[in-house]
Symmetry: C2
Subunit: 187 residues, 2 copies
């Protein structure tokens, strides 16, 4: 039921916003009582924290698998990391939007936890890039921190526009981005 | 006074969100009466629309100057377009966040207007890229639509992390991004 409450609240927070969604709205969708809600969650705040932690922890877990895959080069890991983020759009688009938009409603201690996990995700991405430079896969004149922000910008922004059921598949999109990152566009 | 109301409401909408900010909150910051507010704005909705139109129209106006500057190549126009977006962070960061986060609270007809203007901005960016390909400045095997999304992702995402008063200046950041876009990172 905790999972059900979480899943039911995400589309509501996405559409109406955290502030405008009441616990009443959530229990109505599920056809349960407020008592049931409070059995699983102390407050709406705890629910928002849970949505955000679930979203970022899932990304971190998937990233860890990519990072630890010794059969791949670091350049391939950078590719797989991008593909993994873009693939989550299909299932996690609403969570992602709640994550980025509603983060400011988190209380101090919850916000700290999320910021720490975001930082970890960014640093793992940067680590892949640094290793690719160290191994001579990427040029050594690039700045790993700025390249990391550039790559995260391209992938995270796709939540706002990309339709995984449209003309361009997830793999095609990442192939195009990776080609841009590797070879650039200069004639 | 209309401009003052607009400027006072942006930090409130950014911090508390559109739904949780009352007209009372806004007039308190300014030390005026609700009557004054309603003399200039019919509703909070009209104010949100005004913030969003002002933000995107400013970008469109600046973009038009870049597009019409015949002394520049299209590659230079792509560069100037990126620099212009990144430079607005200094003054318009809060407006940008309100723009992206609170858009879903716009009523249908207001939302349509904003979506139309966003589309225009994206198409103008894509036009610069198509012209750069046509003139042989960019390779002809790239997809202009995907490159446009990639560039807008990198620049728009910087609203979430970039500090214009930090270690990397606005021009340095765009130089690094442009170098990445032109030459890629492959060793």
């Amino acid at each position: 039921m905790r999972e059900k409450i979480l899943r039911a609240s995400i589309p509501l927070f996405d559409k109406k916003g955290y502030s405008e969604t009441s616990i009443q709205d959530i229990v109505e969708v599920l056809g349960v009582t407020k008592g049931t809600f409070y059995y699983y969650y102390k407050s709406k705040q705890e629910l928002l924290k849970d949505i955000n932690v679930t979203y970022i922890q899932n990304l971190l877990d998937e990233q860890k698998k990519i990072l630890n895959d010794d059969t791949k080069t670091y350049r391939e890991k950078v590719y797989n990391n991008m593909l993994m983020v873009i693939r989550t759009i299909r299932n996690e688009r609403q969570s992602a939007r709640v994550f980025f938009r509603e983060m400011r409603h988190l209380e101090e201690h919850n916000l700290k936890l999320i910021i720490q996990k975001r930082y970890e995700f960014r640093m793992n991405t940067q680590h892949m890039i640094e290793k690719a430079i160290e191994n001579g896969e990427f040029r050594d004149r690039i700045r790993p921190d700025i390249l990391t922000f550039g790559i995260l910008g391209m992938t995270n922004w796709s939540y706002y526009w990309y339709n995984p059921d449209g003309e361009v598949s997830e793999k095609e999109l990442v192939d195009l981005y990776m080609e841009l990152i590797l070879n650039g566009v200069k004639n």
